[in-house]
Symmetry: C3
Subunit: 302 residues, 3 copies
Amino acid sequence: MATFIASGGRVWRKFVKTFPVGSNLALKRSPTSALANGRLFSTSSENVLVSKDEKSGIATVRMNNPPVNSLNTALLLSLRSCFEELEKDKSCRALILTSNKPKVFCAGLDILELYQKSPDYVGQFWEKVQDMWLSLYGSRLVTMAAINGHSPAGGCLLSLACDYRIMAEGNFVIGLNETQLDLVAPFWLRQMMVDAIGYRQAEMALMVGALYPSNKALQLGLVDKLVPIEDVQTVAEEEAKNWLKIPDQARAITKMASRKPLLDELRKRKQEDIQTFRDETTRESVQLSIQQYLEKLKAKSK
Amino acid sequence: MATFIASGGRVWRKFVKTFPVGSNLALKRSPTSALANGRLFSTSSENVLVSKDEKSGIATVRMNNPPVNSLNTALLLSLRSCFEELEKDKSCRALILTSNKPKVFCAGLDILELYQKSPDYVGQFWEKVQDMWLSLYGSRLVTMAAINGHSPAGGCLLSLACDYRIMAEGNFVIGLNETQLDLVAPFWLRQMMVDAIGYRQAEMALMVGALYPSNKALQLGLVDKLVPIEDVQTVAEEEAKNWLKIPDQARAITKMASRKPLLDELRKRKQEDIQTFRDETTRESVQLSIQQYLEKLKAKSK
Amino acid sequence: MATFIASGGRVWRKFVKTFPVGSNLALKRSPTSALANGRLFSTSSENVLVSKDEKSGIATVRMNNPPVNSLNTALLLSLRSCFEELEKDKSCRALILTSNKPKVFCAGLDILELYQKSPDYVGQFWEKVQDMWLSLYGSRLVTMAAINGHSPAGGCLLSLACDYRIMAEGNFVIGLNETQLDLVAPFWLRQMMVDAIGYRQAEMALMVGALYPSNKALQLGLVDKLVPIEDVQTVAEEEAKNWLKIPDQARAITKMASRKPLLDELRKRKQEDIQTFRDETTRESVQLSIQQYLEKLKAKSK
């Protein structure tokens, strides 16, 4: 079992300063509101950067939450808002999700959002994860994960929610390592993993919190293609163009027929899922695990 | 993504002349009614040819609907009638489904049955597809697909409904390419695909309407064995004989335990499934896709 | 399809003499009652031998029902009792299930328990199989199958109920060969097989009653690792230690989230499942199959 330390404590602290937890700062600056203009290039001060090729209808969504694209409240809100705007945009047919910081696609949930917070806060945070996922997994668009770096936990969740996964070759890992932090993946994330790599491999991966190097991930079917890191975006665009040769409507109906049961299941069990996550995450042993993890990060960054 | 043009426009027209859509001509001449005699060799004027080896109890069902075994009303009725007769025939233990025209196993649904027809007509046609499938997928017999040629869409459906799939090596394709024609595979066909190659590969295959060359189909598990085209029938017979070493009753109960949920699901949702297909297929954009497809065939045949 | 003759007729008879069917002899001598003492080494006269490493919390459970570890009433009761005691033992974190007689892990259900018995007897026997399975499959412990020999039918069931499967290289087979004896695997065993190797391979394996040599089993994913027979135990211990690096609680909750649906399904349908097995097994043709099988064993042992 590989292990993966998401980031150093120093950068975590810096990150918290830039985007105060719970503020709407990122949302207000969200580039997606300008999408109506058709062409859009965001500035580097925003946590999600969107650009769209008008000819092909392919939008690229770059996560830009330094240093490791941790999924905090602000980024979750920006991503959801962005996915929903693109969904409504008639001229948009495909979406490429990638990182503006090559070498890390997304380090997963921002663990500070789960540490020493009230159960209510944790519950509200979890709902933002659910809503972001619902908007991506249920998208009518062709969705491509251009995984240009590490992709543990929430990074793997984002990848699994897409239609196709292209990952960078090399020393990058992907997987659901929740149990390593004493956390439990929710049923809908577990189901996506089962769907991707089969029940047996998924059960084992989830129990041991496995992180796979990219070549093993390819072998398991957790990703669909490996390319050099500098080609991830180009290959994602080429692949999207291939998919767009298929009539949109039949493709989207086919996708929804496949995904509707899981989407409906979460919509139906949303409150139960929030409560489970809240109760799990705020129990003492988990808080202790998080504390130890943060102390390890702090020690490393000195 | 490979593409496959089912046939030339000229032969389509000829085919329509031979078996008028909606007539019972083929059924009346159906060879299956003579099955009580035990030995049966049909003439070439019939759309399904059945022969049975009395010693082994293995029947071979040859689709004979030139030029490409398109599943029109007449062929669907003949196949269903044939499957049901063999089911009742106590001396029959196994069924090999193959094409009398090597190089094309079955080109799928006859698209003329879906073009410029009333919703009612399309709905009734779809019910014939359902009923044919119910009789094959739920058969107590050992069922072998001897895929001696191309097998797109409905051809793949027939193959998936069998217990085992032997395909000809070489430049032959198999897959569910419905979306390429703006069509959507029904839930029970999608489920058979998921069952055969796993959720992930099936979701992708259905979204992009993939047609796989036989060696890729073997690798995915969409077919079980590849042999030279001239050996497909012989190997199917050998395999059937191997399966017949297992006691019939336990094998049939085991098969039914596995398949009953999907059979029951379609029986329960039959009308809903008809309505979905009817509404999907008669929408304007689909009719336009079919028209363009037919014009392309016509142009090719000149 | 490979075939596997579980044992010679002579040893079967001897076996019956040693452990009278239906007696509680084995249970009374069960070593598991001494587990409270923390350290435990059983004598060779018992049908289950348990030892526990106090430092690691890993218990090894050795089936010891000569000659082939057939699952008769006594062994089923001992196994269940043993699993339940270890479950309650706070110092126990992992369980390795293996055979005290290398070359045969477990030959499956004791067929004499099904032959010429009353429907009630067969039903009660089946309930013991169910209960043993519920206690192993639903265990909070890390469970490792150390498959040091042949593992047909019930042996495969035991292996599938564990979290991880390490098998001996060489001429050993594993699989669900029920149909070869005219028997039908129950829904929960079928589901474990589908979960392990996928629907398509499982449907086929169950229909034809396939027994796979260990290298084919590895390829299918029916087992996870192959090692020389003398290393099976050591490697199982190493693997268990790796798994124990993961926090127990998150791992156990994750496992249960994955397995609860099937556990609940059997708990709900227990009586229906008993009745199905009882009716299936006591029908005339099955009794005849068993009789012929036993006669074949007798002839062989002369």
